[in-house]
């Protein structure tokens, strides 16, 4: 039986659901956040190392491309949601300058602490704020940010549509959302190699480097359960975003979605 076949296909209709996916498992919605928190508590210390090992450094290019597409200008206010260890926030901090601001938000305190320490060690302090926040209920006023980015975070959110609605609320008119997330490979051979790598190599790497194979098994499963490119674009539009588009990176292993609030 393939890994995909283990997914529970007998879900109740939308609106009656009390469960959600946690990798391939179905869990109670109220418990997903704490289970995801457990995963990231476990990997926080080795998160950056594992990202480099797993992606062979390519994640840095995906993130750089995202920052370039953001086209952030001096004095703008940026929210880096699920900002983890602050890779995007560091770049935004230098680009918006002292008249702008960057808010690094993450639901997970361990990740936030690692990110804060890393950025402070780089001497980045003057325009950075750190907020422990749930993407589904952002603790910011309406129309606050010029740009919201979320890199490799949306798939871990329990109710993704709620998160997109919440982001739409805090964006200023004219502001934009960029979501960088694993997606569905567009080429069949790439897809097969990627599946084999995800389910056979990735957990072993997790075991070897971070002494935690389960978290990386969850990572592989959560990627497969994440909406594909077109579905996520529709979710953007449902939240109210306009001029939505996406770009596949590395044959669709990762996609960068972009939407504007007008």
């Amino acid at each position: 039986m393939s890994d995909h076949q283990s997914v529970d296909k007998t879900l109740p209709a939308q609106g009656q659901q009390t469960t959600t996916d946690f990798g391939y498992k179905q869990v109670d919605k109220s418990s997903k956040a704490s289970m995801v928190a457990g995963v990231f508590d476990s990997v926080a210390a080795k998160y950056d190392v594992m990202n480099d090992v797993m992606s062979m450094g390519v994640h840095r290019l995906w993130k750089r491309y995202t920052v370039d597409c953001a086209a952030v200008r001096k004095g703008q206010h940026v929210l880096d949601l699920a900002g983890g260890t602050g890779d995007l926030a560091a770049k935004f901090s230098r680009r918006v300058g002292p008249t702008g601001s960057v808010t690094l938000a993450d639901i997970n305190l361990s990740m936030l602490k690692v990110g804060r320490d890393k950025l402070r060690d780089q001497g980045l302090i003057q325009n950075l704020e750190y907020v422990q926040a749930d993407a589904e209920a952002l603790p910011f006023a309406d129309n606050t940010f010029d740009l919201v980015t979320m890199a490799f975070g949306l798939r871990n959110v329990t109710e993704k549509q709620n998160a997109l609605n919440s982001i739409f609320r805090v964006l200023k008119p004219g502001g934009r959302l960029l979501v960088l997330e694993f997606s569905k490979p567009t080429l069949e051979p790439v897809s097969k190699i990627y599946d084999w790598y995800s389910f056979h190599v990735l957990p072993k790497m997790g075991e070897l480097v971070a002494n935690d194979s389960e978290s990386y098994q969850y990572l592989a499963e959560s990627i497969r359960m994440h909406p594909d490119q077109e579905t996520l674009k529709e979710m953007f539009e449902k939240a109210g975003f306009e001029n939505c588009d996406y770009q596949n990176l590395t044959s669709g292993i990762v996609a960068l979605h972009r939407g504007y609030k007008f």
């Binding site: 290019l61 995906w62 750089r64 491309y65 370039d68 001096k74 980045l124 990176l249």
Partner: protein, 211 residues
């Protein structure tokens, strides 16, 4: 894969690595604090922007020069030029001439362009010391002394070779004229041109006199 992201990453790493070799560069970087310099090269589809902070961030510009110059913030300079002109930008005194010759289009804060130029022009890197960090002082000193001697020998060899070749071509094989002969010939041609011009003027005067 976004190849431009790879390129901008490589440029950023290179710039910051080179700047880190010169301890005084940090002081010059501080003068540029949070300024931006966008550079567009004619024929290249995307420009790049250098963001000067505690280090230099490089980003790819998705907007064209014309679109970017409309929305320039303070301390942002935007230039468009040709690849061949880039080395000339090191001389800040040449900027006005290049703008007048339409080889350089500059919008925004010219101080940013001048300070950025100074940041790279005034780089003073002790490469021997950099190598010594990895190999030790003795090896680095030997390597650089050998390299200097080799360079001097090659320069001398090249100069001598050039002299011998010139002598063979001009004196022995007589394939080319001597430099002095060429100058003399040029002078004679110049004299002849002047004579002809004078003759033309005189002829014109005579024609007008007759008619």
């Amino acid at each position: 894969m976004p190849a431009m992201a790879l390129l901008s990453g490589a440029i950023e790493t290179l710039i910051n690595q080179v700047l880190s070799f010169d301890p005084d560069s940090q002081q010059r970087l501080e003068k540029l604090n949070h300024a931006c310099l966008s550079v567009f090269i004619e024929g290249v589809p995307n420009g790049i922007t250098l963001h000067f902070a505690d280090k230099v961030e490089v980003s790819i510009e998705n907007d064209a020069f014309e679109a970017l110059e409309q929305n320039l913030a303070a301390q942002h300079c935007c230039i468009k030029t040709q690849l061949a002109v880039l080395p000339e930008l090191k001389e800040t005194s040449q900027l006005t001439r290049l703008i007048q010759q339409k080889k350089l289009y500059l919008e925004g804060d010219i101080n940013v362009a001048q300070q950025a130029s100074a940041l790279f022009k005034e780089l003073d890197i002790d490469w021997e010391e950099q190598l010594a960090k990895y190999t030790g002082d003795v090896f680095a000193h030997q390597a650089f002394s050998t390299a200097h001697r080799l360079f001097d020998s090659l320069t001398e060899f090249a100069t001598k070779g050039q002299r011998i070749a010139a002598n063979a071509v001009v004196e022995e094989k007589e394939l080319a004229a001597h430099k002095l002969a060429v100058l003399h010939f040029c002078d004679e041609v110049s004299d002849l041109r002047n004579d002809v011009e004078r003759f033309e003027v005189r002829l014109a005067q005579l024609e007008s006199h007759i008619s």
